[in-house]
Symmetry: D3
Subunit: 323 residues, 6 copies
């Protein structure tokens, strides 16, 4: 396992793990994990999807993978609660960015994304993805949920179950409506956490509730507490395969200003970390962190949150992936 | 009601509601509500008061109405808790900015503001105002409280009941002392929430307490919880007419950095939203959100908080205004 | 003419010209010109096209019209060189933003833009447009050049005569190749000024030169001086109808950092102003300023440059429009 | 005492206390306290240590004293909870910055710092210091703990008890390991609060625990609540001499983005203020606030937090110092 | 002379010149010059006037003295062209900020400023001032031009010879009209350089020209070149007493974004430095740098320009002051 | 040659050149050139030296390589003047960052840097380096100038020929004094361009002149024009081996604000590009771009300038390297 992470300098011949170099050094792959040439060498792939044509408001999430990679140099190895080093348990690598063949037509782009993740999935590699806007989760689910609908833990300010917008039924406000319709996710095994903010129509809220999704609005988060939310999430999703999708606007914009459709009154990062840690042992087959939009992230804090969430989720994924 | 919100493009002839256009489009009136030419067409007026000569520290709140209007394009219609669309209940419009005749002498400026709100009040229109610094609330109260002193819910880091400063007894640290002296507000029906931070004299704190205002310092907020604060606010203000004034520095500067006299250790936006929602049914005759100072608001988050607070307060006002 | 610019406050009844209010006040239409309900009332339309799906790199120009409107409150009336007030010569108005029916497919969006400008053109109104990315100029030219190819003065770092990119031949690097192919512009009456920066292929440069466009690269600007550039521009374009398109990346990013594909080594704003002033008397039938991308414009200077360029171009257009 | 704070203008002859001038005025000493020429005139010294060669990641804390001084003009006199004015109880002064003789070799620099604080301590003056990075606390402890090991309350995201890094055993991740080894602090009377974030080795956590320090990780903070943390801190430290060191990265980066090694999921400022206020009456012989890094602090909020923490700590120190 | 600049540390007893400490260290007086208690000890006073109530647009210049002081730590001693150290020729000191008795009424504030400078002038000290907005130059001229009108070199985008605005004839657009009317400056010995940008009325331009001021608009700067401008300035002002006032908006906002009324197309800093160096030997009795507005100066570059201009002007003033 | 630049996706198997992907995509190596494992595969190495312990003022250049790499994704292939694609002429690769063994003692760090470049040089690879502060050029010269002193073209605001500072004779103000003393550069074949700004001692200027370096201060740049400067540079350096070092503070801080010791009044980027292009055909054996400090570079423009300068210099180096 250790060899997997070693890098040899072409100049000095020195062999070392870039993850432990000083933070501002080395090529910024995700968490300074290795770039690999063969999928058989890895268990978990860190993927970037620099795509934001699906947004309905402020764009910029196309730059998300770049800046999350950049900030992820601050990520370190041993988890402060479990004391586990996830890189000891699985072979983790950065497999680069999805290349979108046609960036000017959303359906063609979505197809490129699906194709990429289908190849990863077929190779038995678990994907942990940095978006991009939330429209990318639909093709990821399409690539992964090949057998039957899977469960979903969805942290977000919005249900993303709206219908057609400006002439397209594929956009970042609709992936989970489409995913239910296509049978990629099971709405009865879906929980949406952190929902808040006004809407121009109530169609998204209603769709989620009508289909049987468990929707925890922020005022219910206040009532349940994070422990209660965790309990609900575990109950709803159960033991079968599930996907975890984290839109950083689920967190309050004081913590994550760099996003496209900020809504005040969200989760704190402390709650987000506690929530993720409470999901340990669930059967995750993939995950993503989306909607980090660097042009609106002056302090870099949103990218840092994104990178740290990826690390925490990695700690969840290694438990499944190493089985 | 629907017609009230329709706009007809002079170019294409298309008729539509600008509030539902894409967020980055349309002329940025408050919440993209219509501009009107006749006060008889409206129930609630959204007003800007671009004035900050009253500050004692950092200025910039003169740019508040502009940026709150800008960010308010992110505001949408249906409330996430009540599922009510306030625009369905009342005719809401943007009536533009107060024009200050003399910007270099605070008393003359204050007189201009009073005159504007007196005309609105006389036309039976309820004002929801974006400041500007807190000195603007005094002339608004003067225009509204024409019969007898009204109640006040005041959220702020400071009591704003200081006396003369640098030769003037009209400034943003004094409006509520002046309003008590002038009989515009009833101190026994006044509650001040979120007070904190050191002061150069204790005169403000003492004035508030001596006059019988209910002052909830931040450490008491911690003890009571927001539900307890709501209970106190409802008890103090009662059923009679009341005004709601929200200084964004009542909220912690992590959420609202763009303000003139930030004090750390304030309310979260979640608490602020819960607090406002707890005031439903009170008899509000007007309200304002003040001290958004865009030059200190790099991320735009303060203006977004300001715009969202205005939406939440609008949801309170429509209940009174439609009676 | 004076009446055209008067606004009556619905509250105070005061009648005044918003263009002369304090800079931080009033609803931010372009230059605080009136919103009108009838195209017959106006000679020149200020238009926003909040569209940036055509970019190949950083997006954000969708927010351009909003921020140019905002900064344009700093614009004033009498020109410092000519002492002429353009608003005295023509009826100028803000006609709002083009609404894009389908924001997720570039061809459909381009069609919406064309339709809007065709209606303006048919009403005899001269358009002065704020983009948006440069892909919007193609449908504007399509709407205007209805008889025969028109001349073009094009200030930019890039020739924007590339071919298909990522599966689409409509994007912000291609409008003038498409416009030549469609017969909207006459390449022999086209001049491109400020071209610089490396390219991944030489196809754009070659297309422009092959078709007979006069291409002035930055090193030739240094040799000719601005007076020489003006002379060339006037010679190439001549007396017949012409369109003026100004991509703010023609200017150096020290002046206009807020743009999608910045190239160092560009024009100064002083050169840009001198260049525009040297074009007086040409027969312009429309113009635009594009590629202002506010998310990359921390200081607001790019939007200020955009607004000032629009004012200078307005001073050119009034000479044609009043004929 | 009042005379101590008076300043006489060399121009107008006016005598006044600069602390009460308008916030944006006067030379920015810490809290606009006087500069003095004789240590016998003062009880508590406000000191700057503009030094950050000890960091392992992002530097910039060298600018901390400057910006904390700048923001500390917002600090005022009477405490909102105790209503005490600390400046009435002790003579407080700004004694300037430590001058580092050799800025390019950390050991030599550390020696300069020790020498400065040794002189202060010998003069019977209690130091309240603004860093600089955390490596400065080691020489301060060396200067103060001349008799026997003292107690330590340490608020931070990191234990700072690591060992050699990049060839040096003196750096900002190691001061408290060194201080235990040198006998400057008593690990059994040391408490570390707010610890979180992954680490590349577990050596720091283990060292702290092995030596008997009380380490409260953030998840335990959630369990205990701030009242519980206070109780633990008072129990561990007891009545004997103690030092208080506050690394601003103990607070969440939403509040304090301007720091070198941000970790999400930290304390809120409200918790930090409550925690400090709960330490009243302990026997503090000095304190510091470190790791404010202005180049990463766009909003200035981190420096404001730093300045406010210094005020709160000053209120603690005056109780000891006036004895 | 050397003693004048020495500082003795109250802690270490070390005696040194703070101007030569590391840039990020020491209390930020202007250029880290000494604070003095007696005007008889000095020849040239560096003064701050933190006042911006006179602005007609964006405020913030009240923070100018603070940030210019801050950035002036980057200033060093020996001039790169003359190789002269101005601090060797005169005793220079920071005398602090003007205190404004009444900050809410511009005439009262202006009176405070005049009184301060009158005392300085009476003590035979030459003032070099950092504003504040341009309204402060009027009371400075009133204090200095006690015998007869003096000459004026005025670098600015605007003539600042407008009349009454919003009810006041004292504001930052009017000081030189007032100064002519009051006989403080001789319009025939006044030159205004860098004028540009549209105006809402032509009254300012006309007033300047009617009174015989030499007005060099930016297009004439282009024609004359800086050498020609210098020649004109020397010819107009001649040998008698003169004052130098530099509004940083005379420089292009790419260099000085942090100002209240930016106009594109201004001087470069290279031109500004050359211009100032060309004024050597003129008989200056005072000078100021105004309109640095830190809230709009993200990069700090405007304050750096302001500080460097003050250094260059100091090099001019020492030649007169040492006579 | 083409194969050298091809990358094969481990997921899709697609083979392509990352340099031509969309700008916001792919791992950000310098100019998205390949990472290699063997020096024999390359002619020119792009190197990062993330080191800034040598600064005397603001640090942050340690983050320079990271952000220059990031911005260099905007760089493209064919040069706008020569139409040459430098990547066609030589095999260019990113060889990663120099690892500094001891980051807390400048001499040890300098030794690490020398060792790295000595290995590169020995392998016959020409280095093009991104700093880091200017102290890194000394060990690079030591590694390269193994036979006899080489020539130097040095663009900078400062001569960097000062002596000991704060106890060290190795720092970013001294490399060229040390390099002359050590016989690495020939002062008679050295030219320093763009020098300006005051200094605390004249020792640096005098050293350069005394040793026979050709020093072109900014006022002489104005006199000679860039063509004259180029002529001087070519005359001084002649045909023998030379090194090119470009400190971005040689350019005006309006263009390059993100640097440690900004001096106003510098070169424009247009002049810088013209200057570099004028050096074609000289015998360069290496080059660097230093002092890009991202924490002070809000707009990213400084990193973009740095990346573009590297591209222009690469176009110079390929001519020598391919011989």
């Amino acid at each position: 396992m250790k060899d997997h992470y070693q890098y040899k300098s072409p100049v000095t011949g020195e062999i070392y793990d870039p993850k432990t170099s000083v933070r501002y050094s080395e090529i910024p792959t995700f968490m300074r994990a290795p770039l690999v040439s063969d999928l058989s060498e890895i268990d978990i792939a860190l993927v970037g999807v620099p795509f934001d044509i699906g947004v309905t408001n402020r764009s910029g999430a196309r730059h998300g993978p770049r800046e999350i990679r950049n900030m992820s140099s601050l990520i370190r190895l041993f988890h402060p609660v479990t004391r586990v080093n996830p890189f000891d348990l699985c072979r983790v690598a950065d497999v680069g960015d999805v290349r979108v063949d046609n960036a000017f037509h959303i359906e063609a782009a979505i197809e490129s994304i699906k194709s990429f993740f289908w190849k990863l999935h077929n190779a038995g590699v678990v994907p942990l993805t940095a978006g991009g806007d939330h429209s990318i989760t639909y093709p990821i689910l399409e690539a992964i949920a090949t057998d039957k609908p899977i469960g979903l833990i969805h942290i977000d300010a919005h249900t993303d179950t709206s219908d057609t917008f400006l002439g397209s039924n594929v956009h970042h406000g609709a992936p989970f409506r489409r995913a239910v319709e296509s049978g990629f996710i099971d709405p009865m095994r879906t929980i949406q956490i952190g929902i808040r903010g006004a809407q121009n129509t109530t169609e998204g809220w209603e769709y989620s509730l009508d289909k049987g999704m468990r929707v925890i609005f922020m005022d219910e988060v206040d009532q349940l507490g994070i422990d209660g939310v965790i309990e609900e999430a575990r109950r709803v999703v159960g033991d079968a395969s599930a996907y975890l999708t984290f839109d950083v606007d689920g967190i309050d914009p004081a913590y994550t200003p760099g996003t496209g459709t900020p809504e005040i009154g969200g989760l704190t990062t402390r709650e987000a970390l506690a929530l993720l840690r409470g999901l340990r042992g669930l059967n995750f087959v993939g995950a993503d962190v989306v909607e980090v939009s660097p042009p609106f992230d002056n302090s870099g804090n949103t990218a840092l949150v994104g990178a740290t969430l990826m690390y925490e989720i990695l700690c969840l994924l290694v438990e499944t992936a190493q089985k």
